[in-house]
């Protein structure tokens, strides 16, 4: 694990175990940084849910709780935004192939809403293959007074 502080803001670059404790940890650490960056309370709540959903995807669906696989968690801030990348070591997935959870036939589905919540709560979102294998979700939240659109 490494933690760095620099002029552009605090950075985190961690490898986490594939368990639910890591989900709580990543949410807590991101919220500490986001609060220091001035993100208001209600938006903090939304950022927290987005991080939780991305971490659960990595731990549960990507790494399938495999203790030999790690979750790659990075947070970077600059004066305009906070950027979070969460990667797994799983088999990968195509976000475009996911059913629309808000489609009439899916509204009463028990699962499948995580990616939708991330998209709703963050200002930027992208899924890509992780270098070295697996999938990574990249998320951006603009900071109050920043100039970045996402």
């Amino acid at each position: 694990m490494t933690e760095r502080s620099g002029q552009a803001g605090p950075d985190l670059n961690l490898e986490l175990a594939s368990n639910l404790e890591s989900v709580d940890f990543a949410e807590e650490k991101t919220l500490e940084i986001a609060a220091r960056c001035g993100i208001p309370e209600e938006e903090l709540h939304r950022v927290g849910i987005a991080i939780r959903e991305a971490m659960v995807n990595a731990v549960v669906h990507g790494n399938r709780y495999n203790r030999n696989k790690r979750v790659h968690f990075r947070v970077h801030t600059n004066p305009e935004a906070i950027a979070i990348t969460i990667g797994d070591e799983g088999g990968g997935f195509d976000p475009d192939a996911l059913p629309d959870p808000n489609a009439e036939e899916n509204v009463l589905a028990q699962s499948g809403r995580g990616i939708m919540l991330i998209r709703a709560f963050m200002d930027g979102y992208a899924v890509s293959p992780r270098p070295g294998g697996g999938t990574q979700i990249h998320m951006i939240k603009n900071l109050p007074g920043g100039n970045t659109a996402g």
Partner: protein, 114 residues
């Protein structure tokens, strides 16, 4: 803080007072068990009081939906009481706000089951 569920009876209605965070793991499983107990009764009438719930993730939303459909399948009804702004927002984003009957007042909610 995880979730705590207290069940009480008001006439024929099970009122479940829920507090804490409904998230994947302990939080959602405690709620699942409470709703499963209700669904096992005859034509269950269930009112879920979410006044003390400030955090639900997609897994928690899944438990609400699952409870709703299980209780309907058992010939009963599940309704929601006193949503916090955060929970209301989540239900609106997921289009579930129009699926559930939602009340701000317990007495009115209890009456609606008759």
């Amino acid at each position: 803080m995880s979730v705590a569920v207290t069940t009480r009876r008001v006439g024929e209605v099970f009122v479940l007072d829920v507090s804490g965070r409904i998230t994947l793991g302990e939080g959602s499983s405690i709620l699942r068990e409470s709703l499963r107990d209700c669904a096992a009764t005859k034509q269950p009438k269930v009112l879920l009081n979410l006044e003390e719930v400030n955090y639900i993730d997609s897994s928690g939303i899944g438990e609400l939906v699952s409870g709703y459909t299980n209780i309907q399948d058992a010939g009963g009804q599940l309704k929601l009481l006193k949503l916090t702004k955060r929970v209301r927002d989540l239900l609106q984003i997921t289009k579930l706000y129009t699926v559930f009957e939602v009340f701000d007042d317990e007495a009115t909610a209890i009456q609606s089951f008759r």
